[in-house]
Symmetry: C2
Subunit: 502 residues, 2 copies
C-alpha cells in the first residue's frame, strides 16, 4: 500500500465512524430535547447497540496499524493529514487496550447513569444516584490505568486529556491565585453599602416571550440562523452535526429570565466557534480538536465579556423593553446592568455571577481530584459538597437537587469543570489583545458583534484545532497564559459596580 | 435447524432491522421538525447511506429462504408467529427482485424529491419539482413491474398494497356513489340562504396560545402524555418509535386557528391508535400492519365524528374562551360549531370541510390512476390539477403552492389518498355500531373521550393488524363495508346545519 492508499483507507473509515457518531448524536439530542419519558430507555438502548460499531472500526488491527505506519512515515501527506494522523495516534494510544466488551460496559454504565441522574435530580435523591456515579468513576479510572502512558496521577492524566499540559500542579497554582484575588473581593462586596436593585430579577416572564428574546439574541450575537437550531432541555448544552447544523439548547425559568439570557449567550458563544472553524478542517476530519478550555473561552467571552458589559445592555435595552414592557417598564438601563452583575454567593453554578463562578468550579475541582485519585469515595460525597459550599461560598445547601445533583457532567465526565474557569481566564487575556484592533464596546453597542466574531475567527478559531493550549494563547495574544488579566478584569469591574475602594 | 431456531433467527434479524428503521426514522423526524436548512442535505445523505443495511438484512438468501421454509411449514409456531411469517412472505414477494443497487437509487430519488419539494413548494415552482416527481413515479412503476404477481394494472397493484382487496373497480364504484351523494348536497348548500358567521375564523391567534390549546386537546383526546411528543412541521404527520414514543406534528397558522385544531384532532387520532395496539403485537413484530384506511379511520373519527360534533364544541368552549378570550369573547357556542363546519369548495385538502373533503381525494385519485397507469405523464400535471379543481370544486387555483405542490405525499407515495376517504367511510359505519354500546355524544360532552378510545381499542384496534380490511369492517360492525353510512351521515349533518329541505 502507498501512503496515499493508506490515507484514503483512513478517510473512508472515518466517514463511516462519523456517520455513526452523527446517528448516535441525533438520538442523544432527541433524548435530551424531544423524546417522551417513556421513550428514553429504548433510545438509550439503541445508542448502546450501535456504539460498538464506530469503536470496532477504529480499533481494528488494520486501522490501528495503518495509523502507526503513517505516524512513522508522513511522506506524501499534507499538513492537515499529518495533524489528523497525529490526533488518531494519540487517541489510539489512549484506548487501544480497551476491549469492545469493556467499551460496551462503559457505554451502558454512562447511559444508565444519565437516565438515573434525570430521575434522581428531580427528587434530590443522591442515594439513588450514588451507585451509578460510583460505577462510572470506577470504569473511568480503569480505562486510564489501561494506558501504556500515564501522567503522575489518574486525575493528572484526565486533566491532560482535556487540556494538554494541564496538571494538578498547574491548577492548584491557578486556583490559589484566583482565590487570593477573588475571596477578598467577595468579602468587600458583602460589606459594601451599595444596594443593587434585584426585585425585578424574579418577576414572572412567560416562556414564549423569553423564546422570542432568545432568537433575537442569537441573531445579534452573529450566528447563521439557517444553520442553527434552538431547543430546550434540562441542562443547556451545544452540539452539532457538521458546519450546516449547530444546535444550542437552553432552559427557561419563568421567575428567572436572566438564566435563559446568559445560557443563550454562553451556548451561542460555543455555536459561534462551531460555525466558524475553517471548512478545510472539516474536510480533513480535524475540526473540533481544540481543548475544552479553548471552547469555553468562546462561550465565556460572549456570556460575560460581551453579555454582561454595559455596552451590551445598551444594545439590548430597547428590545428588552419592547418584548417585556409589561414586566420591566420601571427598570432603568443602569439597574438592568447592575442586576445582571450582582455578585453574591449562591447555590447553582450555571446561575452564578461572573465573580463567584470560579469558586463553584474550585469546589468541583477539589472533589474530582479527591474521588478520582482515591482520597475518598462516593459515600458522603453530598456532604463533602455541602461542606465546601459552606466553606468557600458561605451558603447552606438545602437539598441535593440544588447541590451535588445540579450538574449533568458527572454522569460520565470528570476533569471538565476546570475548563470553564480557564476559559474565562483565556477570554480576559484575549480581550486585552483584541482591544488593540477593535473598539470592542463600540462594536457591541452598535450591533456589530459580528466584528468580534470575525476577529476571533481570524486570530483564534482558525488555529485552535491545530494548536496546543499553551502555544495557542501565546500565538493569539503574544504572551504566555497569565491569569492576572482575568483577576484584574474582575477587580476593575466589580470595584466599579460596587463603588469599592481600590 | 428446527422451526424454533428459524423463528429465533428471524426475530434477531428483525430486531436489527427495526433498530435501523428507528435510527432512520429519528433522523427523518429531525429533518422534518428540527434540523436547520443547511443541515438537511447531510441528514438526507446519512439516511440514504444506512438504508441499505436493513434492506440487505431482509434480502439475504438466508433470511428469504428461512421465511419460505416457515411459510410452508408452521409447525411449532404460535398464531402471532404465523401471522409474522405471512407478513414477511408477502413483503418479500413484493421486493425480492429488487437489487440493493435499485433500492439505493430509489431511496436517493425519494429523498431528493422530498428536499426539492420543500424548496419548490415555497416558490410554487412545479417546473422545478417535475423531473423529481417523474423520476420517482418511474421507479415506483419499475418496482411494481418486477414482482412475480401483478394485479390488473400497476395502479391496481399499488391500491391493493395499501388496502387488500382494493382496486380501480372498487374505487370507481365507491367514488361514483360518493359524488352522487355529495355533489347535489354541495349545490344545495351553495344555494341555501343560511348565513354562517365566519369573520372570526381568520382572526389572529398567537402561536404560543395555540400551542397551549393543542396540549390541552391531546390530553382530553385521551392520549398518554408521558409517551407522546408534539412538534411543528410543514406538513402534519404522526410517527412513532414503539409503544413508549408516539409523535404528533402540527402546523400553526396565526390567521387560521382551526387548521391546527383539526390537525391536532386528526393526528391525535392516529396517535391514539398507535398508543393502543396490543402489546403482544409489538412483541411479535406484527404491530402497525393494519391498512392505511383503517389508520385513517381512527384519525378521521377523532377529527370529524368527535372533533366537529356539537358535543365536542360543548366540551371545548369554556377552555376556548379561557385561552382565547381576547380573540373570541363575542363568539357563541353555536357560531363556533357552525364555523368549524362551514362547507365550501376550497383549495387546500387539509383545510377542507368534512363534506367537500372527498372531492379533493377524488381529484388526486383520478390523477394518480392516470399517471401511474401511463395515460399521461408529469408534463402539464399542474394544469390537469387546476382543471379538475375547477370542474369538481369550482375553484380557480391561483398558484402551484396552493395547487399540486400542497401535499407531501407525491414525493414518494402514490395510492395513499383514497385511504383518507375510505377511512372516513369506515368511521361513519363504526360510529353507528359504537352507538349501540355508548352514548357517544354524552361521552364527549362529559370529557370522557377515553370511553370512545377504549371501545375502539377493544373492538377495532385489537384486531386491526391481524385482519384484512373487508374482514375487519365486517367483524367490527357485523356488516360488509357500506358507504351509505358515510353519505347519510354527511346528508343529515349538513342538512341540519344549513337548514336544507330533506
Amino acid at each position: 500500500m502507498t501512503n496515499r492508499q493508506r490515507i484514503n483507507y483512513i478517510n473512508k473509515t472515518l466517514e463511516k465512524v462519523e456517520l455513526y457518531y452523527r446517528l448516535m448524536g441525533k438520538v442523544s439530542f432527541d433524548m435530551q430535547c424531544i423524546a417522551p419519558k417513556k421513550g428514553l430507555q429504548r433510545a438509550s438502548d439503541d445508542i448502546n447497540k450501535i456504539s460498538s460499531i464506530p469503536f470496532k472500526l477504529m480499533h481494528s488491527k488494520k486501522f490501528m496499524s495503518t495509523v502507526d505506519e503513517l505516524y512513522l512515515n508522513h511522506e506524501g501527506l499534507n499538513e492537515y493529514e499529518v495533524k489528523l494522523i497525529s490526533n488518531l495516534y494519540e487517541s489510539k494510544e489512549k484506548s487501544k487496550n480497551i476491549t469492545p466488551k469493556m467499551q460496551e460496559e462503559y457505554q451502558k454504565a454512562t447511559s444508565d447513569s444519565y437516565l438515573k441522574w434525570l430521575e434522581c435530580k428531580e427528587k434530590g435523591d443522591y442515594e439513588g444516584f450514588k451507585p451509578y456515579l460510583g460505577k462510572v468513576i470506577e470504569l473511568t479510572k480503569q480505562r486510564v490505568l489501561l494506558r501504556d502512558k500515564q501522567e503522575k496521577t489518574i486525575y493528572d492524566t484526565i486533566l491532560n486529556d482535556f487540556e494538554k499540559g494541564n496538571s494538578i500542579e498547574v491548577l492548584d497554582d491557578y486556583f490559589s491565585k484566583l482565590k487570593e484575588g477573588i475571596v477578598p473581593l467577595v468579602k468587600k462586596i458583602l460589606n459594601s453599602k451599595k444596594v443593587i436593585r434585584e426585585d425585578f430579577l424574579s418577576r414572572k416572564v412567560e416562556i414564549y416571550k423569553q423564546e422570542r428574546f432568545s432568537k433575537w439574541l442569537l441573531e445579534h450575537e452573529g450566528l447563521d440562523m439557517d444553520a442553527l437550531v434552538l431547543m430546550t432541555t434540562e441542562h443547556p448544552f451545544t452540539t452539532g452535526f457538521g458546519l450546516g447544523d449547530t444546535r444550542v439548547t437552553t432552559h427557561y425559568y419563568e421567575d428567572m429570565f436572566i438564566s435563559n439570557l446568559y445560557s443563550i449567550m454562553h451556548e451561542g458563544g460555543h455555536a459561534l466557534f462551531d460555525q466558524n472553524e475553517p471548512e478545510i478542517f472539516h474536510k480533513y476530519h480535524i475540526e473540533g480538536h481544540m481543548s475544552m478550555a479553548m471552547h469555553e473561552c468562546a462561550s465565556r467571552f460572549f456570556e460575560n465579556m460581551v453579555g454582561r458589559s454595559k455596552a451590551f445592555i445598551d444594545l439590548i435595552y430597547p428590545k428588552f423593553l419592547e418584548l417585556f414592557n409589561e414586566e420591566f417598564k420601571d427598570v432603568t438601563k443602569q439597574e438592568l446592568y447592575e442586576g445582571v452583575n450582582i455578585a453574591a454567593p449562591s447555590l447553582i453554578r450555571t446561575e452564578a455571577d461572573e465573580l463567584t463562578y470560579s469558586l463553584h468550579i474550585l469546589i468541583r475541582y477539589e472533589l474530582e481530584k479527591g474521588f478520582i485519585n482515591g482520597e475518598f469515595g462516593v459515600e458522603d460525597l453530598d456532604k463533602r459538597w455541602n461542606e465546601k459550599y459552606k466553606e468557600y461560598l458561605g451558603v447552606d445547601v438545602p437539598n441535593n437537587k440544588e447541590g451535588i445533583l445540579q450538574d449533568v457532567h458527572w454522569t460520565d465526565t470528570y476533569g471538565y469543570f476546570p475548563s470553564y474557569s480557564l476559559g474565562s481566564a483565556y477570554a480576559a487575556q484575549i480581550y486585552k489583545t483584541m482591544e488593540k484592533d477593535l473598539n470592542i464596546e463600540e462594536c457591541i453597542r452598535n450591533d456589530e458583534i459580528y466584528k468580534i466574531r470575525d476577529w476571533l475567527k481570524e486570530h483564534a478559531w482558525s488555529i485552535a484545532s491545530i494548536t496546543d493550549p499553551n502555544e495557542w494563547i501565546l500565538k493569539v495574544t503574544g504572551e504566555k497564559f497569565n491569569p492576572d488579566y482575568y483577576i484584574n478584569y474582575l477587580k476593575e469591574k466589580f470595584t466599579e459596580i460596587y463603588d469599592l475602594e481600590d
